[in-house]
């Protein structure tokens, strides 16, 4: 109980500190998320044309995905130095897998008959993709993005390890100075952020699911 009281006090008295970290965390995550979404979805679309390309790309991202995050962060520090840039690079690498995979799967799982009808009616490849395939794949793609967003927000919490900003600063500070309440406060806010983001995307997902059958 004492702990929770201290925790509450901490959040209150140092609210400015936490709010700043929260904003940094949001910006950091958003930049990574934006890049991942654009690169990931585009890649997913491109590899949907070729099974070979798909297995290569997905296989590669799979491997990258299994590398422990701290190792990844540490590795890039030696190349791009400490700070936000490195953090974003590492976050992007992790985030790519769910988005590429879901985009790919979403696109190829569109009913063959629907595609045949669209092609038979004289759709250009672009029309087929933009009017039919992509909209129908969207729920799966959004699900992948949702996954990625939560993961990125959580992972960004480790970024402070290499000098980036965000709520990880509080978590790391708490760990290195034996300040449990600080650690928990940081972690709590990361979890909260992830929860809210997930919730918002869940609403988007539901709206899209309603129409596609």
């Amino acid at each position: 109980m004492e702990f929770i009281k201290n925790l509450g006090e901490l959040l209150q008295t140092r609210s400015e500190f936490f709010i700043e970290l929260l904003l940094q965390h949001i910006v950091l995550s958003l930049i990574a998320i934006a890049i991942i979404t654009v690169v990931g979805v585009t890649t997913g679309i491109l590899i949907s044309k070729s099974k070979k390309a798909a297995s290569v790309v997905i296989g590669l991202t799979n491997v990258l995905y299994t590398i422990p995050s701290i190792a990844m962060f540490g590795f890039f520090v030696s190349i791009t130095g400490i700070g936000n840039t490195t953090a974003i690079i590492a976050l992007v690498i992790y985030g790519l897998l769910p988005v590429i995979r879901n985009t790919y799967v979403g696109l190829i799982e569109v009913d063959d008959q629907i595609l045949e009808a669209a092609v038979g009616m004289g759709s250009t490849p672009w029309q087929l993709l933009s009017k039919i395939q992509f909209p129908l794949a969207l729920p799966v793609i959004i699900a992948g993005i949702r996954n990625m967003v939560v993961m990125t927000i959580a992972l960004a919490g480790i970024a402070s390890f290499i000098g980036a900003g965000g709520l990880g600063v509080a978590i790391w500070r708490g760990i290195t100075t034996n300040f449990d309440e600080m650690t928990v406060a940081g972690s709590l806010l990361v979890a909260l952020l992830a929860f809210v983001a997930d919730g918002l995307l869940g609403i988007v997902e539901k709206r899209l699911l309603r129409r596609t059958k």
Binding site: Q113, I114, A117, A118, V119, M121, G122, S123, Q127, L136
Partner: protein
Amino acid sequence: MIEFRDVSQQYEAKKPIIRHLSLTVSQGEFVVLIGPSGCGKTTLLKMMNGLIQPDSGEIRIKGKELKAWDPITLKRNIGYVIQQVGLFPHLTIEKNIAYALDIQKASKTLKKERARELIQLVGLDEDYLPKYPNELSGGQKQRIGIARALAADPEIILMDEPLGAVDQINRAVLQDEIIRIYQTLNKTIVFVTHDIEEAIKLGTKIVVMNQGEIMEVGSRDAIVFHNKSHFADDFIGNKGFLSYLNIVKIEQVVCPFNGSTNGNTAEKENTLWVTTADPLIVGIRICLENGVNQIGVRDTAGRVVGAFDLSCLSRLKF
């Protein structure tokens, strides 16, 4: 309209799918391609709008060689209806119908008008326009499928077993609808089916295929009665004949009353009647049920036009 000359097609298969096939489809015909599974009828159909390319031979669509057509333009000029319909689940019925126009960048007003026009043509209420495909029954979906194929007003419509996935009762209804649409719009239709009854019922020209070759081509009468091909004969068989009796109307076989000089004597007592619009099978059935050889025929307005006579039938040339 459509010409095939010595066309062959193989895919990567060991046996050819289509062998040295020649066929002509003229404007306004309702051509039915029928044959057992694997005979190549669907492949033949798909060569007409360029979905499948021939390995050899010449194909002309509307006088122009297949190779000379831009593949996208060709498809946009031909309506295409498939068995599973393939309606776009994320679009409203209205948008589904107007799709062919949408990809050709038609105006909003044109698309709206055309959708309204076509949904009525296929026998559904305008209320359905804002709905989504998952709200429709199987039969309704296929009606929309047909409407969709008509959107850009193509001269040729290809249908690949469109009623294969529709239940028995609806199938008969939809067949009638298709006939009605055909007669109203005067399109050229190529229709693939494995159902003999359907083939006889719908087609003005019936093409019987087997193993990539055409066994027989002819009108309804010719296919049922004057088959040169043994295979076609067997294939069409009694089912085909029965279908024929269900389709052809009595008005085609009216003959004079027995024992009359001018052909229209006064009716005897107890004469049974059928109308000109009834199919042959109704006349035959009434004769058999009542043990008579001759019954009277009236037209739809009620006037006497002659007799339906079992012995007369054999003298008629189909």
